[in-house]
Each structure stands twice: as C-alpha cells, then as structure tokens.
C-alpha cells in the first residue's frame, strides 16, 4: 500500500481523525480473537488504504486479504471477517460463501462488519445463514476519510443518484453523522449556512442529532476549531462539474482518473520500465498524488497551461545550481549539501514532467479544444443553435455517451431545459445511437432535473451576471480570480461560498434564482464564539501578525471536483483572506463519473 498522506499541516489537524479511524478499525478487528483473514468489499480497498497500511492489519492478526466476489474464499483459517458496505448484492455473496463452507463441513466463525453502519435489509439477508453458521455482526463507523490535509470524503459513489433519483436519503444521514463525529473531535461548529434541498436536509438531521445528545458531550464544550459550516447541494450547481476541468489536478482526473488520491498509469508514461523487474513491468504504475509531494502541492492547483512553464523553470534552476557548484572552486561542504538537498526534488520533477507530457497529448487534440470552446459558449449562454447542432453531431458520430451527456446536461441546465421539439428529437437520437437500454438513463437524468423539457425561460443569464460567473478579464498565468480554473468560467458553487463569506446570504436576491432553500443558523449558548468574534477585528488590525484565521468547512453534498477544490485553495491564498478552508464531500467526482453513476446498468439490478 502506498504511503499515507501527511495530514499535519492542514488548517485543522486532521490526523486526529485518521488516528481515531485506525483505533476503531483495530477494535473491530480485535473483536475476533486469534488469526483471521479479512475479506474486503472491493469498493473499500481504496479508501481503506488511506486509513491504514498493511502493517496495521497484521498487528491485529490479519493473515491474508481477499475480496468479496463470486468465488468462495479458499482459506484454512478458522476466522473470517467480512468488511463491507451495506449493499444487498454483497450480502448474497457472503451468504453463498458461508453456505458453501457449510456444505463442506467446515467449522468457521464469521464476522460481518458494516461500514459505516448496519442496515435492516442487509441483516435480513444474513438471517438466512445465521442459523447455520457462527455469524456475528458489527459496525465500523468510518465516515469521513481524510484524503489530504484539507480534503475529506465519505466516498459514497452513488450518493448523488440515490438522493436525486431513487429518493434514498441514507447518504444524507451519513453526512450528518460524519459532521457530528467531526464535531466531537473539533468542537461544535457555531455558524451554519447552506443552499439547496439536500443541504437543508442534512442540516435538519444534524440539528436533531445534536438535540438527541441531551447532555452535551464534554467535547462540545471545547472552543470550536471550525468556525463556519457551509453546506452546498450539488444540484444547485450542475454546470461546474459538467465543464472540463483545467487545473493540473483536474486535467489528470479528466484523462487518467484519480482514485483515492492516486493515479495508475502505464509504465511507459513514467519513462522506461525497470528492466530488472520484467514481471511487474506490464502492471500499471501507481503514483500517489497528495500534498506530501511538495512539488505537486505547488502545481496541482495551477491552470494546466502554466504547469509546463513552472516545471521548466524548476529544471533550469537546478541546472543553474549545478553549474554553480561545479564552477566554484572553493565551495564549502555546506554548499554542496544544499545542492544535494535540492536534487532530492529531481525525481518529483521527472515524475510530473512525465505526467504533464502524457496529458498534453490529450489537451492539444483539436477535438478537445473545440469541446472547450463549446463549453465556454454554453456557459455564456449564447448561441443556443450552434450548441444544439454540436451535440446533435456528437450523438450522430456515436461519441462516448458520457461526454455527450455532459454537454447535453450543460445545454439543458443553462437553458432551463430544452424546447419540446428538440428534447424529444435528441432523446430519440440518443436511443437510436446508443441503444434502447438508455431509456433508464434518460429517465434518471429527468428525475435529477439534468435533462428536462423547457417550461419556463431560463434565468441562467441573471445568475451569470448576478455573481459574475464569466468575468471579462481572465489571466490563467497570474490569476486574480477563481475563473482561471476553467480558463474563464468561475465555478458557481465557489462563487456561492464567496457570497456566504461576505455575509450576504439569505437576503440576497439572486440566490432565490437557484433551486432549493437558502438557510442560515447560529448555535445559541456559544459564548466562546461571541467573545472570539469581538477579538477578531482587534488582532486583525495589527499588521504583519497572522491574526487567527477562521476555519471554514465547506461541504458539497453529491460530490466535488478537483477544480473546485483548487478554486477554494486559491481563495485561501489571496491576500486579505482571513479564512482557511476544509473541503468535505460525499465523493470526489468529475463530470464523467457523475454521469456514469446515472447511467443505469440493467444487468446490475
């Protein structure tokens, strides 16, 4: 397993969160005595790798690791632990495993651990084998998984679809529970603002949970480390995730998919494969991407167009240093030492040069460029006809359905739906091109409000002007505004965050143009909070001292893109900003993964 990301330098020390998770994982593993094998839900292996390394599992007596699939686990070990998400298909497989073992007269103990919690349906399925086998059920309450020093995720892939299409709000409950757990560690967050239906649902559940904990936990008496919570429902801004991200991290994600803080690439991309290891050379190379990589930390949030230059500068400066070292006759040992230290970043530079080079193969393609300009046109809400024809042609050419749907959703959302004639026409063309089974996809998109029939005029123009989504001037190289992350379009979701920080929230006119409730509340009996609010301006007036910066937790319910995270980090780094952000979400997404979750696979159900 890869090295865990360093979490110590964040605005709030998130390593507490990881330690807690490790401790709890240890406890559930120890609940079964002796040596055991761990059978993992394949979906969990990535997130779990961000919590614990294999050594931790070994310490707790885990001998071997398997994945839950159709074949039963072949092991001599008497103790079997299943660690799974509460999903019914998995339950059925577990039941089948246990029954097979039973048929072969194997006496074993089983433990099924649900993450984050058990559900009644799943227990019902397990009841079938409970009678025959020795099965215990436990929970591993892991909610937020720290991805980086400022990024948390629940990693619930289907959250958006479940909430918006199936009406299953369990992921909202998980989110509220996750926030509660966070508050136990870092104090109750005094201010809460939110926008959108799912956001207000989460806030309601959160309030209820707080009330149910009648005697306040000792932890809640702690001064809050996090000042404000901003909840944003992904549905409020579906435009942003559908656009192609243009930050370095965003581009990596668009073309080679970042999974659990790492990418997998062909060895050829990373230079020649190691010749002494012929066996693994066909395997993909896993490259961890988080802020422990100092260089990556520096360039991940930059516009991709700039990354090449920065890398070149770095390389040139090292070369410069090298010639300095070789030229100078009377260098001291410490000079050489400094130089060698600098050389340590060399592998990082090579790594990112390789990745950037690989990516530029995609980004220089004419099809990509024309797509970008089409996205820009759509966001500006101009020239409906040209966009319509463009999408039509994409369907006719049978381009990958995810990328077609991304543009189609953009078209629909910015126009508040498509005129009936076009709507039916394009839907028919889609079915003809990609097959009738996408009937369900269309219906999902309709339920989620992403591809609809136009019934009223669009207010996109008003929204766009209201919060300046397409600023007139944009400079990707020396950005002064978050619009650089999409080369000219400022993500709506992040504009909302800016708005919330400025204090114009509920009163604001244009917020009413967006779907869902706008709300705001303060925790009462928070004297600490009031005192601190008063002291903030006074310390602030002392120049030069880094006055206490307020920590803002921004939660995107339904997923967040890397470009949006970059935009928030950019805001944080601006002069005069008194805020630090922590970003939390149900899942790190991009347009393609989001659309994929809405494409129904009939064979899966």
């Amino acid at each position: 397993m890869a090295q865990l990301p360093n979490l110590d330098n964040g605005p709030v020390n998130l390593s507490n969160l990881r330690e807690q998770a490790q401790r709890e994982l240890g406890e559930v593993l120890d609940s079964m005595r002796g040596k055991k094998v761990l059978v993992l839900d394949p979906q969990l292996s990535g997130p779990l790798a961000l919590i614990a390394q294999t050594s931790l599992l070994k310490e707790h007596g885990v001998e071997n690791l398997y994945y839950v699939d159709a074949d039963p686990v072949q092991t001599e070990c008497k103790n079997v632990i299943y660690l799974v998400r509460p999903r019914i298909p998995l339950m059925k497989q577990i039941v089948a495993h246990i029954e097979q073992d039973n048929g072969r007269q194997l006496q074993k103990s089983y433990s099924v651990i649900f993450m984050p919690r058990r559900t009644i349906v799943c227990e019902k399925v397990l009841d079938e084998v409970k009678a025959v086998g020795n099965v215990t059920i436990r929970e591993f309450p892991l909610y937020f998984i720290p991805f980086d020093e400022d990024v948390l995720s629940l990693e619930l892939e289907r959250s958006f679809k479940e909430t918006k299409v199936d009406g299953d709000t369990s992921s909202l409950w998980y989110m509220a529970r996750a926030i509660t757990k966070l508050q136990e560690l870092y104090g109750v967050i005094p201010n809460v603002k939110g926008k959108g239906k799912a956001a207000s649902q989460v806030s309601d559940i959160l309030l209820r949970m707080q009330r149910e904990q009648a005697p306040p936990l000792p932890a809640s008496a702690k001064p809050p480390e996090i000042d404000t919570l901003i909840l944003i429902d992904r549905q409020v801004d579906m435009v942003t995730p559908m656009c192609s991200q243009l930050t370095y991290e965003g581009v990596i994600d668009e073309f080679i998919q970042i999974n659990n803080g790492a990418v997998e690439v062909e060895p050829s991309v990373m230079g020649a494969p190691p010749s002494n290891n012929a066996q693994v050379s066909t395997k993909k190379v896993k490259v961890p991407l988080n802020s422990s990589d100092k260089l990556y930390r520096e360039i991940r949030d930059l516009n991709f167009g700039v990354v090449g230059q920065v890398l070149r500068q770095k390389a040139v400066s090292i070369k410069q240093d090298y010639s300095d070292v070789t030229a100078a006759d009377n260098q001291s040992i410490s000079d050489v030492k400094d130089f060698v230290k600098k050389l340590n970043v060399l592998p990082e530079i090579t790594r990112h040069v390789n990745i950037a080079q690989h990516l530029s193969k995609f980004t220089t393609k004419p099809t990509f460029l024309s797509r970008l300009s089409m996205e820009q046109t759509l966001v500006e809400g101009q020239n409906y006809d040209a966009s319509f024809t463009y999408v039509e042609e994409m369907i006719h050419r049978q381009e990958p359905i995810e990328s077609v749907l991304r543009l189609l959703i953009l078209l629909s959302v910015t126009n508040n739906g498509l005129p009936k004639k076009h709507y039916d026409y394009l839907r028919r063309e889609l079915l003809h091109s990609y097959g009738f089974e996408h009937m369900f996809t269309l219906s999902n998109l309709e339920k989620a409000g992403l591809l609809i029939k136009q019934e009223a005029k669009s207010n996109w123009q008003a929204v766009k002007k209201g919060i300046n989504l397409v600023p007139e001037e944009n400079d990707d190289i020396n950005p002064s505004d978050i619009a650089y992350v999409f080369s000219g379009y400022a993500p709506l979701s992040i504009r909302l965050v800016q708005w919330a920080l400025r204090g114009e929230w509920q009163q604001s006119e244009f917020l009413r143009l967006l779907p869902g409730a706008t709300f705001e509340r303060f925790e009462k009996n928070q004297e600490v909070n009031i005192i601190r609010r008063e002291t903030v301006p006074s310390t602030d007036s002392v120049p030069g001292t880094d006055a206490r910066r307020l920590v803002i937790l921004v939660i995107f319910i339904g997923g967040v893109t890397f470009a949006e995270i970059s935009a928030l980090r950019f805001l944080e780094s601006q002069e005069g900003m008194k805020y630090d952000f922590i970003i939390a979400t149900t899942k790190l997404v991009n347009g393609t993964t989001l659309v994929k979750s809405l494409i129904d696979d009939p064979s899966a159900s």
Partner: protein, 126 residues
C-alpha cells in the same frame, strides 16, 4: 402505478437477453409500450418502446438472413453500421426509412462504416 409497472416490464426486458428467448422479450416490450401509452405524459416512452420492439423483430430477421448473430441488442445506428460494413446497402436503406433516421446521422454512419470496411472507392464516390 402504470409507470412503475412498465418500468419493471422494461427492466425485465433489459435483463432477459440471449437471442434464443426472443418471444417473451418481445411480449414484455409490447406490454411496456401499451402501459406507457395509457398515460399522456409518456407518449415519448411509448413510442420508443414500440420502436424497440420493431427493431428487435427486424434484427432477428437479419440474423436469420445473414446467419450471423451480431444484430440483436445493438442500437439502430449500430445496425445500420453493421449492414453497411457487410455491404448490405439495401437493408441499411430500409432501416433508415423504417426508423426515420435523419440524413445527417445516416451519412456519418455510412462514412464510418465504409472506412471500417476499407471501401475507399465507395467512400470517394460518396
């Protein structure tokens, strides 16, 4: 309620694959189409289901006449592509007319298909 029922019908249809059992599948689609037709808002769905039934029947015929099991479960566009690649232009033309495929889409498909079949002369003439 109708909607839900038709869902489950079409879902069944989706899962029931394999060209040997086309009978029940066609029936399910017809039923779905009827159910959709009962409510006004689902005209589109009703029509689409009807077309799908038609498509399946046609694909079955094609599989019998060409002796190749490559048609069932592909989309209208894919069917046309396959036909042109095989050089069966008359059948392709028929699908185009039957399913009111717009010229624009048909020409794209034709270009792609001819390129796949490496029929460069035909592509040139076209």
């Amino acid at each position: 309620v109708f909607l839900k029922e038709s869902w489950s019908y079409s879902r069944n249809m989706g899962t029931r694959s394999g060209s040997a059992l086309q009978g029940p599948r066609l029936k399910a689609i017809d039923q779905a189409s009827e159910l959709y037709a009962q409510t006004k808002e689902h005209m589109f769905e009703a029509k689409a289901a009807e077309e799908q039934g038609k498509l399946l029947k046609l694909q079955q015929e094609l599989e019998i006449s060409t002796g190749q099991p490559i048609f069932v479960d592909s989309s209208v566009s894919d069917t046309i592509r396959t036909l042109i690649t095989l050089g069966n232009h008359r059948a392709a033309q028929r699908v185009k007319v039957d399913f009111k495929v717009p010229d624009k889409r048909y020409y794209w498909l034709k270009v792609f298909a001819l390129a796949t079949a490496k029929q460069w002369d035909a592509l040139e003439k076209f």
